[in-house]
Each structure stands twice: as structure tokens, then as C-alpha cells.
């Protein structure tokens, strides 16, 4: 029930009603973007944003930098495990 799908905002269709077209895995959908708009981020500036779509609404912006960092960390872990240098001993013991 709480699931959502990432999509990219490609066009604003109604500034007043805060409606946009979002490309969700190749399918274009009309989505309400009211939850990701505030004084710092106007409706018009949302084009190009990656968002999480849930029941027809964009619920939050996806943070590209954080996503990269998570993947980077896992990449490093994978390397450490491959070289058998992953040490599962906490620093404080």
C-alpha cells in the first residue's frame, strides 16, 4: 500500500493546480506535485526533478547525491569482501 515508483518530471501541465507529466519507467502519467513545491522550489522549477510517485502524487524529491553515496559505500563493501578484507570487528572492542 505504501509503495511508490521513481519517475522524472518532464513537463508542467497546470501551474495553478500543480499538475505535471512524469515519466515513470517509460510510461507518461499525470501527477500532482503539490507536496514537492514550496517557496524555495517553484512549480516551474520542478521540470527535470526525480520524484517518488505514490497514488498519483509526487511525495518527495529523490536526492541524487545521497543515492550515489549509498551505492558507492556498497561498492566499497563489495570490493572489501571480494579481497577478503572485510573485518566484522567493531572499532570499539
Amino acid at each position: 500500500m505504501c509503495l511508490g515508483i521513481p519517475g522524472k518530471i518532464i513537463e508542467i501541465t497546470d501551474v495553478k493546480q500543480k499538475l505535471a507529466v512524469v515519466n515513470v519507467g517509460g510510461v507518461k502519467r499525470q501527477v500532482n506535485i503539490a507536496c514537492i513545491v514550496d517557496e524555495q522550489h517553484s512549480v516551474e522549477s520542478c521540470v527535470g526533478d526525480w520524484v517518488l510517485v505514490h497514488v498519483g502524487f509526487a511525495m518527495n524529491r529523490i536526492n541524487e547525491k545521497e543515492a550515489m553515496e549509498t551505492l558507492q559505500l556498497l561498492e566499497e563493501l563489495a570490493e572489501a569482501v571480494a579481497m577478503d578484507s572485510y573485518i566484522a570487528i567493531p572499532n570499539d572492542s
Binding site: 500500500m1 505504501c2 509503495l3 511508490g4 515508483i5 521513481p6 522524472k8 493546480q17 519507467g25 500532482n32 503539490a34 507536496c35 514537492i36 513545491v37 514550496d38 526525480w50 517518488l52 505514490h54 497514488v55 498519483g56 502524487f57 511525495m59 518527495n60 529523490i62 536526492n63 541524487e64 545521497e66 543515492a67 553515496e69 549509498t70 551505492l71 556498497l74 561498492e75 563493501l77 563489495a78 572489501a80 569482501v81 571480494a82 572485510y86 566484522a88 570487528i89 567493531p90 570499539d92 572492542s93
Partner: protein, 381 residues
Amino acid sequence: MKYVDEFREPKKADALFRAIEKLSQRLKKPIKIMEVCGGHTHSIFKYGIEEILPEAIELIHGPGCPVCVMPRGRLDDAISISLKQNVIFTTFGDAMRVPGSKTNLLQAKAQGADIRMVYSPLDSLQIAKDNPDKEVVFFALGFETTAPSTALTILQAASEKIQNFSMFSNHVLVIPALKALLDNPDLQLDGFIGPGHVSMVIGSDPYQFISQQYQKPIVVSGFEPLDIIQSIWMLLQQIVENRCEVENQYNRLVEKTGNQVAIATMNKVFENRESFEWRGLGEIPKSGLKIRAQYAQFDAELKFTLPNLQVADHKACLCGEILKGVLKPWQCKVFGTACTPETPIGTCMVSSEGACAAYYKYGSFFHMTKKMMLDKEKLRA
């Protein structure tokens, strides 16, 4: 798909499993981790995560499936609305098979009720605009993830002065339910996988009480396999290092304070109910949302007379114990025989986010037999 495929990469998953394996050797005793959200339950079964984890780590599937916690009385109310003359009743598909005390929405539809499945509450509003001579009701379900969307839909109906639209609100809140679970003495848990999309709305800060008052670690997690496995790894590190903190694995979507616009919208339209009944868990104070008086004209509970009765759960059904993680689905006598996803007796069998349905659909026979043998051995010992 971007932000999906990268988080399914087998090489990274394999490394995480090996890291978990190594860390788990440092555990002093077997541990139990609860994933609160039904979306996580679904992913865990879909990707077989439970089966690859070391013996010492047991996953407990929590109550975070809005359909599973719906009490029978509320379902009866929904069905009674749908059967009223001149009503078009709109709902998410998940709710169609949820058993009330006698029937479900699917059966009501077969009896002639005009029940339509929608993808978004906005679709329901559109149906109201297209059918001005009918009363259109939306069955509003879900946690904080979904509540801002229904709130925005009510605001839009208000601004467009739509007269024939209302909602039957059954929104529930995660934090009070977690408190109730933590206060339950039957429940022995070592940590939580926190709900990702609820937290995208409310933030990760509201979970501080779990680490501070109850000394349990919690990691807010995304829904892809790497997200969940990484979260288990993070929890394991906390447990091995004797830490209990709120950590956030899903920081590409979740911030400490959540989405302020969504929270403000939700608070504008909804207020806390004094108390709300959860199937299996009973009454939980301040755990449900009702529509504020200012938007009373959109409140189906005021617009229609409802039976409004509390109905006890089915005698055979152990959903309550399963939602709390005290018992496992196969310990229920009717699991897989009288109770299946086609003919559910309890709510946990309805949606694949419910533990019973997840075990029924995905739970490998081998895994279940293994666990059953273990249970039997324990009994003998």
C-alpha cells in the same frame, strides 16, 4: 529503471550477505528483527531474503499493512455505504477482498453495489465530477504515506465546491502502533526495519523514542533488495556494537524532519481520533485520523448513517498474534486450507503485504518445513 535497477545488483547483494554472515558470528544469541511495513514484507518474500539470512537472524513481519489492520466493523461500515442507493463507492484494489463480518466489497459488488477500483483519490474526485447526480465516496486507507494525498484531494474538492464527494477515513498512524507493540510484554524484538515511505513524509526523527526510551535500534529502509539487506547489515552492526540509534539507510528519500508540505497538508485536513481499533491489536489511542470539522461536508461518517459496530475477529484467525509477530502463519489451523488468498478468513491473507499471504504465495515449502521441525524439536526438549 533509474533508482531501481542499481539497487538490485546481485554482486552487491552477495557482498552484503557475506558481511552479514561474518558479523552474525559475533552475536551472543539469535536475534529477532521486525520489519514494520508491509511493503518490506512483500519485498522480503519476493526476493527470498529471509531464506538466505543466517539462522541466527529471524525476521518478524509487523503490522504495517493498512488493509491487514482494518477491523471487521469498519469493513462492515464501508460495505453498508457501498450498498446505499445512489452511491458510487471507490477504493484501492487491495481492499476488495478484505473480509467484514459477513461479506466483503467484492461480494457487495456482485450484489449490485456500484464499486469502482481507482489508482488515486483524484480519480475518485473525477468520478464525482462526471456523475453529479450520484454520491461518490472514497475509501481512504493507508498510513502517513497516503494521508497527504487524500488530504490534498479533499482540499481540491473544497476549492472546486464539489458537493457529491466524501471520504470514509480509515487512515492510521505508525508511531502509536509502534508504541503499542513496544509496550507488549509478549514481544521480544532486538531491532526494527523502519518504514521507508511513511518516513519520507514524517521524517526519521519521530523514531527517536525507540532508541531512547526502549533502547532498540531502528534503521529506516528503502524497498529494493539492496536497501533491505543493507538495513539488516546496519542493524546487525548496531546490535553487535551494543548501540541503539535511529539510522537512515534510505537517505535518498528520507530526511530527519520529513516533508513539511505533506505534513502541513495532512494536519490541515485531518486530526487525531481519540482512539482507533486495529485488527488484532485492539484500541490504540490517537492512532487514527478523522476529517476536521471544517471539512465535515466531505466526511462520509457524518454524511451517512453507519452500523458502527465493533465486531470480534473470526474465532479461528490468529491475525492478531501474527501482526504482533508472536506467532507464525503456519501455526494457524486454517492457514492454506480454509484460509487462502482467494477465500481469506483473516486480513493477513488478503494482501501480499500481509504475512499469511506472503508465506502462502512465496514462502518456500523447504523453509517452512525446516522451521516447523525446529518448532517441534523445541517442544520436545
